[in-house]
């Protein structure tokens, strides 16, 4: 569909909604292309090319939202979706006790294109498969594995937004990712190694020194091999050095979600109404950012057309603010933070994170390990869960013992758990280098919207009293 036609359809939706008596309309169009290759045991287990195209209409009536979506890119289809969205907003208003209306902001007319050296759309499927083959070869060079896994993912496309303020926004999301893994199940031995990351760039990302398929495959094989000789992790509260990716996940999952203002305005978050309170040690500063100097996800605007900025959530332990959409920002008399995001046109934007990370500290890595002296170095994880009470549990899939101020033996898979609001008080420092990770695989899940690309990271952080759970 031509750009002009899309904008015309979106403007028609806005006009239709306003004629139906609602106060504000946001009309979004997504045209996203996703390619995934699952290369397991050197067979393409799944290769897919997905075209995800449609329009979503958000109607606001007296601060009550209603959302409807359609894959039918016709005037009739869009008008029907607008009628449904308006009806949802109006008919549910009587029960809505938390009205989230918002103030007008200046009209935005912007078209953002991203220039990359090797856009994935310009390369063949075979080129992408070849990268996985190279990675698998590297895995197999490390050890004899039962199963090899190679995953490639890419997403690119176009996003449009038109609203009642006359805003017309266009931008192009982009993400590429490669993951490699090896599994050994043999003669009573069981181990697995899995690693890799993505980036909001073109395929040139896989030519960089640390992220070539060969290096990723070598790392996966090495980690799998290490697991065969891993020792049990200590059990109990342990001083722990957490890597950027591990600490990034902790800060995203356990603190970041609590700072999302939709949980705050309903009082569900345990950090609601606590701005100005000391929630962490002086070593803890937490940032959420759309476009970060440390890399990660590239997100210039959110799905309400708000330019993303740098939000300080926690500064030297003091709670400074929350993450907002337009409605929660007005409700809480806060600055707009650009955190209203939707995974695709089938979902309404909700408050989500962007790139969330711990700010850097002033230690070298060696100083940090020496400070821990005896404990655990938690490097990588394979998932985690948190509760609304601040409790968290992450599975440390790669970690090492720290003994006498040195990183020593690999440890078996173990759980790291605790309560984030307790743990932040026991942060004892961080290193000088910040890394932010992102990717096509994984992503953030909330409100039924799973797999939303986000960034997370930080420096290596020293945390005391982390509950390391191993079986006796």
């Amino acid at each position: 569909m031509e750009n002009g036609n899309i904008l015309d359809l979106l403007h028609k939706a806005v006009e239709k909604g306003e004629n139906l008596g609602v106060n504000f309309i946001e009309a979004r169009y997504d045209d996203l292309n996703l390619t995934t290759i699952n290369y397991t045991n050197e067979i393409i287990k799944q290769s897919s090319s997905l075209s995800r195209k449609g329009i979503g209409i958000m109607a606001y009536y007296q601060g009550t939202p209603g959302y409807s979506y359609t894959p039918e890119l016709t005037l009739e289809g869009v008008k029907e979706a607008t009628i449904r969205a308006a009806k949802l907003a109006k008919s549910t208003d009587s029960r809505n006790k938390i009205k989230l209306d918002f103030d007008s902001i200046p009209t935005i007319k912007e078209k953002i294109e991203v220039k990359v050296k090797k856009h994935p759309k310009d390369f063949e499927f075979a080129d992408k498969l070849d990268m996985l083959k190279r990675g698998v070869t590297a895995v197999k060079e490390q050890l004899e594995v039962t199963t090899t896994i190679g995953l490639y993912g890419e997403i690119y496309g176009e996003k449009y937004l038109v609203n009642s303020e006359g805003t017309e926004l266009y931008w192009v999301p982009l993400m590429v990712d490669i993951r490699m893994g090896g599994v050994v199940i043999s003669e009573g031995k069981q181990s697995q190694g899995f690693t890799g990351w993505g980036a909001s760039t073109g395929l040139e990302f896989f030519e960089e020194k640390e992220t070539t398929p060969e290096i990723t495959g070598t790392n996966a094989g090495t980690y799998c091999k290490e697991q065969l000789e891993a020792v049990a992790a200590p059990s109990g509260k342990t001083k722990t050095l957490v890597s950027p990716q591990m600490g990034g996940v902790v800060v995203h999952e356990s603190f970041g979600h609590l700072s999302e203002a939709d949980f705050v305005v309903t009082g569900q978050s345990p950090i609601a109404d606590r701005v100005g309170e000391e929630l962490g040690s002086e070593h803890v500063t937490i940032i959420d950012e759309g476009v970060s100097p440390y890399g990660g996800l590239y997100l210039p605007y959110d799905d309400q057309g708000i330019k993303t900025g740098r939000t300080v959530l926690l500064e030297k332990g003091i709670l400074k603010g929350y993450l907002h959409n337009r409605g929660t920002a007005k409700k809480m008399n806060s600055e707009l933070t650009g955190n209203s995001r939707a995974i695709n046109f089938m979902f309404n934007p909700i408050v989500r994170m962007k790139n969330t990370y711990f700010e850097k500290g002033d230690l070298t890595f060696e100083e940090a390990v020496e400070h821990v002296n005896t404990g655990v170095y938690a490097v990588d994880m394979s998932g985690g869960q948190v509760g609304l009470d601040g409790n968290f549990m992450f599975n440390c899939s790669r970690g090492y013992l720290i003994e006498n101020g040195e990183v020593t033996k690999p440890i078996k898979n173990t759980a790291l758990s605790g309560n984030i609001l307790e743990l932040l008080k026991y942060v004892e420092g961080g290193t000088k280098e910040v890394t932010i990770k992102t990717g096509y695989f994984g992503g953030c899940g909330k409100g039924g919207q799973g797999g939303l690309p986000v960034g997370f990271g930080g420096p290596d952080m020293i945390m005391d009293k982390v509950l390391v759970g191993g079986a006796q």
């Binding site: 997905l50 979506y69 985690g384 309560n419």
Partner: protein, 458 residues
Amino acid sequence: MTLNEIRDKILHIADQTIKYARDLNIPAAEAYVYNLSNTNLTDNKGKIDSRDGLIQGIGLRVAIGKQVGFASCTGFEKETIKSTLKHAHSIANVSPKNPMFNGFVAGTNVAKEGILDPEILQLDSDSMIETCNLMSQEIDLSDRRLVSISYGVNFSYGGYAVATTEGCLASSLVTTYAANSFSVVTEAGDRKTAGDFVQGREIKPVEGISSNGLKKALNSLGSKAFGGSEVLPTVWEPRESAAFLAFSFINCVSGSSYVEKSNPWGDKLDQQVAVKELTLIDDGQNPESEAGRAIDTEGSPKQTTTVIDNGILKTFLFDKMFGEAADKATTGNASRGGFFGGIPYENVPNVEPNKLLIKEVGKNLDQQISEINKGILLTGTPIGLFTSNQITGDFGITTNDAFLIEKGEVVHPLKNISIAGNYFETLNDIRTIGSDREVSGWPIDAPAITYNKHTISD
């Protein structure tokens, strides 16, 4: 549009798509046509969000001999379908041969379809508001311990059709209804959560959901620290029992992980993998379950399969391709998207359970508790279940929803504890399998179960 009209529409689109494939000289193709209307409303402490729409699209597999390509598109627009077919064909052209692939499902063979409730098509936002009103009438908002209470209502109707160049043309429809409530309570610095729900293929009464959830949360207040680390028996309520077993069983019963040699039970066929009291059935034919369907997502008839019989592993679950790779027939377990979500038409078939059921045996929850001298009762879904190691079976989870049991009595709620162990060892160390299986939101329904020993720490 009526349910019959929806069925006619998706069958027509599927049939047309195969005709387009033939027009394009594509040697073999499969069309998975998906059309589901979904409406959702949530009320979080009075903050209302509502959403509706049509999830509609086609997943297309194209094969050139053993080379297979997949592409999908949203909507049913003719030119888009044709271009997606061409795209899948081009991917197949450059894909290496998949030695396991031996063609798409041939012919039409359907099993029993589940219940369809036409009343669900009449629901709208007004009826969802009415349901929330009913649920909230049960709650005393003046209780100062209540931090927040949320309600949710969801209904959907529609289905999918599968057509192949080998002559399969079949469909399956579904109607679903779900309502839930979730409470957050606090007292003297203690913060607890709990909820309850109903779900099924028909409209369900919602009475008792919100009050049950709130009561459960309030009963958990006043928790005390466990204090130390100890190996103890654990007793799991039925829904929590299902949650505990779900993640491990999904991989262990999978025929795809068996063929790919990443299944820790890969060498355990006809061997004991659990206590002899444990029988595990995969049920794709329960008319009241969403999983009870006429066909799976590649067009094979669904069925009921006994996976573990009195502790002995009898079979894995298969779709067509992985079944043939293991010299077995499909068990009707081709799933797209699956339990962990995803838009079905954007996925190729993968092996997943329909609905696993642990056969009920002896004692209910209260009887199991009465037999524990010292142990832990689990009343909520622990955090971390889905990060357990599926290969080694090691798990380490944490929960704020547990009680101490002493001398056969529930003594007091506990502050956050961690529970660690190994799935494969604990399945062979079950003390009691209960008689009180409940419908859960997980891919497995289970009764209350007591395990002899897990490591408890705080």
